[in-house]
Symmetry: C2
Subunit: 339 residues, 2 copies
């Protein structure tokens, strides 16, 4: 998920987009303040944990998507701020639980809730954040909004279950992989942009356009983030090569190479995936790059990013639409550095 | 929580209550069927897990409370069935996560999701059930209902956090203990009976009466269940003496004796709680019984059960009110066997 945060700096360096990003800044500040204010809604005995989870140094990409989609489809209203807060809380809840799954000790340079207080407390803390988000989402006058937020949360968790279930599953197909990441990452992106348009009472084709935009963008981001397992990133918060593979998480570049291999080659690859040493796994990933797995994944990312841009064409041409288009374009520039 | 299931057989043996319990049977069967039907709302890849969690052999006490409270405050409607399903799903979600906390291998004779598929999958499965319950609860025409269900779910998780946090905390006071169990167990009981009356558009005093009834009943049940740590229960699904104490969970009988002890005695008790052997802990619990800790807890349980019965007096005198009153009375008979 960190790919998103890494992608944003590029975006904000684009002078022609900065003006729109500047207009949403006050709303983002309000969201930040209101997110921190949520602590007061919890029992004093647990507010310390909640406060720690909320103060996660996140770049608030989903709230930014809500606000930009709101402007691009009409205007930003107080309800858009409520939507952004609910979606971000669900995201934060999933991060708390993700860190348990991954046994992660740090996230963005800070010890995770799991590392600080153990799995038990982290499970419950994530639950509290989920419930609180869904309580906030019950305040929308339209049930459609509340239901779609809960559905998206369900989809994120279901996607994570599928991913966990399919670890080391050598039969995982590329369409299945795409479906899983569309659930796990696409769902919250999609609901952010789709519901922003719903709140503005947009036409069905505009709502669908923003929904597709969010979905394609989420899928592209996740493939990109998964590719980092092959090439790594610098810095303390970055990914180390081969972490996913060691856990049996099969990502797109590898799936592509598997699909291209002869039965004999497949058997060899399966053997390394299931029983390999760290060294043989690193060697396998190098082979995946060499055999075009990464290139193929990069091609697919570009295709999803292009589809995200194309989806927006039904919206009126405004500076905000330009900014929404600028996000996949900025990601594309990042992706190009993968090779 | 098993105390509830253990209490029900007594209740159904009371001939004068059986008629009312019989009237809600068709609705309970509908709820059972609709609960199982929920599986279809999940991705096919995870429906096996969901189905396993739903098929938990639970006695559906919360659905029964919803239906009885519905009849006692007016009539049972399709919305009451929706309420019962949402509340039961939240309960089932918390059980899946509880079993991770407790490292429980079995629940009601069946391996737990945690034991079958590991902590990771159990965390995500619980999350899915939570999200699904809250999605269902977003379908009520009144936002008050959806919000109160989400609030109750939040309270259950917050209560569990407080309990986890206060393990081995020798400063835990009796009012704090009562507050924790009112959150952890009272909240879902309370919301079951309260919202049944809200759906019937009852007067505020009737709604409050049913809310208080659920709260008092939930607190009484939980104290009773906690007392079983001192005396145990037979059978494979029962509790073994001292399990809570070994985990640092301080229950009412022990808290009472601690409060009655001199500083020197307290120091001795603290030492066993923090550093004791299994034998010294068993010895400590025997001492707690001897020094009246269990008797005091039993007294308090009776007081909460009496308050539950008393709360109902504002409701019209009907067979259903009698049945609701019969539940705390049946629990009281069970409790009397504790000594």
């Amino acid at each position: 998920m960190d790919a998103i945060q890494r992608a944003f700096p590029t975006l904000t360096q684009k002078l022609d987009l900065r003006r729109q990003l500047d207009t949403i800044k006050p709303d983002l500040a309000t969201i930040e303040e209101r997110l921190r204010f949520q602590v007061q809604e919890f029992d004093p005995g647990i507010s310390g944990y909640v406060s720690y989870a909320l103060d996660s140094n996140g770049k608030r990409i989903r709230p930014a998507l809500v606000l930009l989609a709101a402007h691009a489809s009409g205007k930003s209203t107080p309800q858009h701020i409520d939507l952004a807060i609910a979606v971000e809380l669900i995201h934060l809840a999933t991060l708390v639980h993700d860190d348990i799954m991954d046994g992660a000790s740090k996230r963005r340079g800070k010890p995770t809730a799991f590392a600080k207080w153990g799995a038990e407390l982290a499970v419950l803390l994530g639950d509290c954040l989920f419930c609180h988000a869904l309580k906030l989402s019950s305040n929308f006058p339209s049930q459609e909004i509340s239901r779609k937020i809960a559905e998206a949360a369900n989809e994120v968790c279901s996607g994570e279950i599928l991913q966990t279930q399919r670890r080391f599953d050598l039969k995982l197909s590329i369409p299945e992989y795409i479906k899983i990441i569309s659930m796990k990452t696409g769902a919250l992106f999609r609901v952010s942009t789709e519901l922003a348009a719903v709140l503005n009472n947009c036409r069905p084709d505009e709502i669908l356009a923003l929904r597709n935009y969010g979905d394609f963008l989420g899928i592209a981001y996740q493939i990109y983030d998964d590719c980092l397992d092959l090439v790594g990133t610098e810095g303390s918060t970055g990914k180390t090569v081969g972490t996913d593979l060691a856990k049996g998480k099969l990502t797109l570049p590898l799936l592509h190479v598997l699909a291209q291999s002869s039965p004999a080659e497949q058997e060899q690859l399966h053997n390394i995936i299931l029983h390999g040493t760290p060294e043989s796994r690193t060697e396998l990933l190098a082979q995946v790059v060499e055999r075009g797995g990464l290139k193929n994944a990069v091609r697919r990312i570009h295709s999803y990013l292009d589809q995200a841009v194309a989806a927006l064409q039904v919206l009126p041409k405004t500076g905000y639409r330009d900014t929404l288009e600028g996000i996949p374009r900025a990601v594309a520039e990042h992706v190009a550095t993968l090779g």
